[in-house]
Amino acid sequence: MPSFDTIVIGAGPNGLAAAHRLASRGDRVLVLERGTTPGGGAAGAEFAPGFAAMPLAHLSYNLDARVARTMDLPRHGLRWANANLATTALSATGAHLRLEGPLGLTLTGEVSDRDRAAWAGLRARLLRFAGVLAPLRGMTPPRLAKGVGNPMGQLAKIALRARMMGADEFRELGRIFLTNVHDLLDDELETPLLKGALALDATLGIWLGPRSPNSVLPWLDRLAGATDGAQAALGLPMGGMATLGAAMARAAEAAGATIRCNAAVAQILTDGDTVQGLRLADGEELSAARIVSSLAPKTTLLSLVGARHLDAGQTTRARHLKTRGGAAKLHLALSAAPDFRGAALGDRLVIAGSEHAVERAFNPAKYGRTPQAPVMEIVIPTVHDPTLAPAGQHILSAIVQYAPPAPADPDAARTAMLDASLRVLEDHAPGIGALILKAEMLMPHDIETRWGLPGGNWHAGELSVEQMLFLRPLPGLSQYQGPIKGLWLASAGCHPGGGVSGTAGWNAALAMERAGK
């Protein structure tokens, strides 16, 4: 039995990023993964015979540049099929609106001149604000206490950059920071299709509707991401997102990490003050002086460590961590290409007729019910890489919102969500129903079961202002160091949140280096 310095739990983007960095610095690193393939949210899961296994994530929006560069992902198989995917906001009548370039640099379709000008201004401002905040993503969140070694220089630089935008812009940032997406869009724009596409972009993966207070901040965070150096650009890897997950796994292995799949961790072992190792579900015990958990903090604390090894107050706060997921995932195997009334099938297709359509889809989900007309983001990866399906056939992948995270009758809710989604699709692509060879609807509770994300939440813990920065995942745990010596948290549930970015894992590894062994 070889011994390891560090065991990383979970081979998702964050676990792999941390493993890579630790292994590159000479640590003997073992990564334990419950699933059959590494990659986490970017690992394919069997869906229909002959069709490529589908990952949870289908587009790249915030892959960490430090991670991509240091892990040398291109060398391990990452190619962009498109590193700047256009969006088509679908209309049920065929009057689509096309947004090209990052965050809709150019608009094609029926938009008034007034709206074009207004959008150009708002877009630039959103990107500027997001850019100012972007460096925060790569930092360990500062602590609120005195004399705790906060990186005052870095923080001052961010503050200075914000101030350098000028008094008007600085004030505007302060004004919109904690407002809601609906009001922000409504102040400036009038084209429903544009507002709908933006409202869905803003609320993808968060448990907030466009009218929910504080919904602008998570959007700014999303827009702080980049693909291949272009801020807010969306990327689709050749072969789909599974390629990205696989490339990260190969890179980690090349750096010396060992990845062991089909190894579910059941318990972190501690002598009270220090981690000793862990126990797998099959009873096997492994020892290591350092354990890095890339599982959601709620899971790590309550299931893997367990209440009795934690303080009672911290346990209560962990139990109260909010982890509602409203994003469901739809996979369709299609016998032929669908026709969305002429829309370019290689685009990211958005069905959200207006900002109100997004809010209306959220309303029933708040009360545990499924919406009549869900909104969705669609990708058809086979348009870019036909090898993912039998010749001439296609895969449609859609993130569908909003699904209730804990419906009273989960199976009935899944059926209702699927039926409603297919109805919406049929409205926008007449005849698509007849092409369906197989349909799979993954509800938040299914996602929780399969990927381990609590509540099926995209960010492994809601990304909302009260769970951000020094409050993420919990006060006192925001600097990646766990509550027990030798335990580190490196999950999307930590700062800065989710997406196939590897940022939290990378930040955690940096924090470990700073802390010394």
Binding site: G272, D273, G306, D311, A312, G313, T315
Partner: protein, 394 residues
């Protein structure tokens, strides 16, 4: 008439009320945990004297009592409190404290092990939400059983004789142990515990047996100087015994508004309670850090020159530098000296050149006195009869 809101309801009466009110010549009632309790029945000096020279009854019903039961009861209490609840034998009692995550005291109390998987925790403050939060992940049920139990303290040198006269054989009952007796068709638990630092017992039964219990003890005690005592007499006795009270000698963490008023067990002289080897308990990691760094505060017993009670006095070093405060004080009738409990800055824990600034109100004029204060060991009063088994036959 509309129903009264909870804060409008009059204080509740304990099951002993018919007897305590009949004996309460002064009608001096005070609220305690929502109940009316007697401050002094008729003469403070006589009541305190009975605690030290005869036998006394004190109505304990308002004390908060929690039942903690289930297969994880010991494990849950080990995580909640600083001592090892598992090492407490069935039929045993121990004094313990519990803290929040930061190691700050929430409360102190006595823990009774009634059965392998059933305990009773008695304390000053109500904390059901904290206890329930602490129970998450453990197979336990926690119930506030304050109203289900009638409790009476029987304290004083003749208390054992009174119990024998009442028909209870308590000769073999050791300090911090309890025993079960049949009583009036029901049950009575007698524990050799108390808050006076003297020979004494606490009696636990169901509310329906409260009055028969009172009457049988009063009958049995007639020849042994038995009398009821109020909280004021008990307070003098507990000061002589050096016992602390949550809310008086320290501010319980949940009530603390000012960060610098929070106190840890290490700062309250309770470090000896902590079992560092039993594994995790809430606050352990914070207390380990505090132990390493050294606590900022210490808790001490003081003897003060003169005969004026130094309640609330500010303490100075070298008459000039403020270094602490007296949290409880009295003229001790037993020791014939002025005693006090005090929080002091840790570096003055051993004393030396300490002074208490006392203001004595004398016919509407304050006399300000700077009195030398000497750090002494607690308990101030520690009679051997408290420990003797079988207890002496007076």
């Amino acid at each position: 008439m509309t129903d009264l809101r909870h804060y409008q309801t009059p204080l509740r009466q304990t099951p002993f009320h018919p007897r305590t009110s009949a004996a309460n010549r002064l009608h001096a009632w005070a609220p305690w945990a929502g109940y009316a309790t007697v401050q002094t029945y008729d003469d403070l000096a006589m009541e305190h004297s009975a605690i030290r020279n005869a036998a006394t009854l004190y109505d304990l019903c308002p004390m908060i009592k929690y039942r903690i039961e289930g297969t994880d009861a010991a494990a849950c209490l080990n995580r909640l409190t600083v001592r090892d609840a598992d090492r407490l034998a069935v039929g045993g009692v121990h004094y313990t404290v519990w803290c929040d995550d930061a190691g700050h005291l929430i409360d102190d109390g006595t823990l009774f092990r009634l059965a392998p998987d059933r305990y009773r925790l008695c304390c000053q403050e109500r904390h059901l939400p904290w206890l329930l939060d602490s129970a998450f992940g453990f197979d336990v049920r926690i119930t506030d059983e304050t109203g289900e139990i009638a409790a009476l303290a029987l304290q004083g040198p003749t208390s054992a004789v009174v119990l024998r006269a009442a028909g209870f054989d308590i000769d073999t009952l050791k300090p911090f142990r309890m025993a079960e007796f049949p009583f009036a068709g029901g049950h009575l638990t007698i524990s050799r515990t108390g808050f006076t630092g003297d020979l004494g017992y606490e009696l636990w039964t169901t509310p329906d047996l409260a009055l028969p219990l009172w009457d049988s003890l009063t009958d049995a005690g007639a020849l042994y100087g038995l009398r009821p005592v109020g909280s004021e007499a008990l307070n003098i006795a507990r000061l002589e015994a050096g016992f602390i009270i949550a809310g008086q000698d320290f501010t319980p963490a949940p009530h603390c508004l000012r960060e610098d008023r929070l106190r840890s067990p290490l700062e309250m002289g309770l470090g000896w309670l902590i079992d560092w080897d039993k594994g995790q308990f809430t606050g352990r990691r914070a207390l380990l850090r505090q132990r390493e760094r050294g606590p900022h505060w210490a808790f001490v017993g003081l003897e003060i020159e003169g005969n004026v009670a130094a309640e609330g006095a500010i303490l100075y070093h070298n008459r000039k530098t403020e270094i602490g405060v007296i949290t409880g004080a009295c003229w001790s009738p037993t020791l014939k000296t002025s005693i006090a409990l005090a929080q002091v800055k840790a570096r003055h824990a051993k004393g030396g050149n300490l002074w208490a600034e006392i203001y004595a109100l004398r016919e509407l004029h304050y006399a300000r006195m700077m009195m030398p204060a000497r750090v002494v060991a607690r308990p101030f009063f520690n009679p051997t009869r408290k420990r003797q088994t079988p207890p002496g036959k007076l």
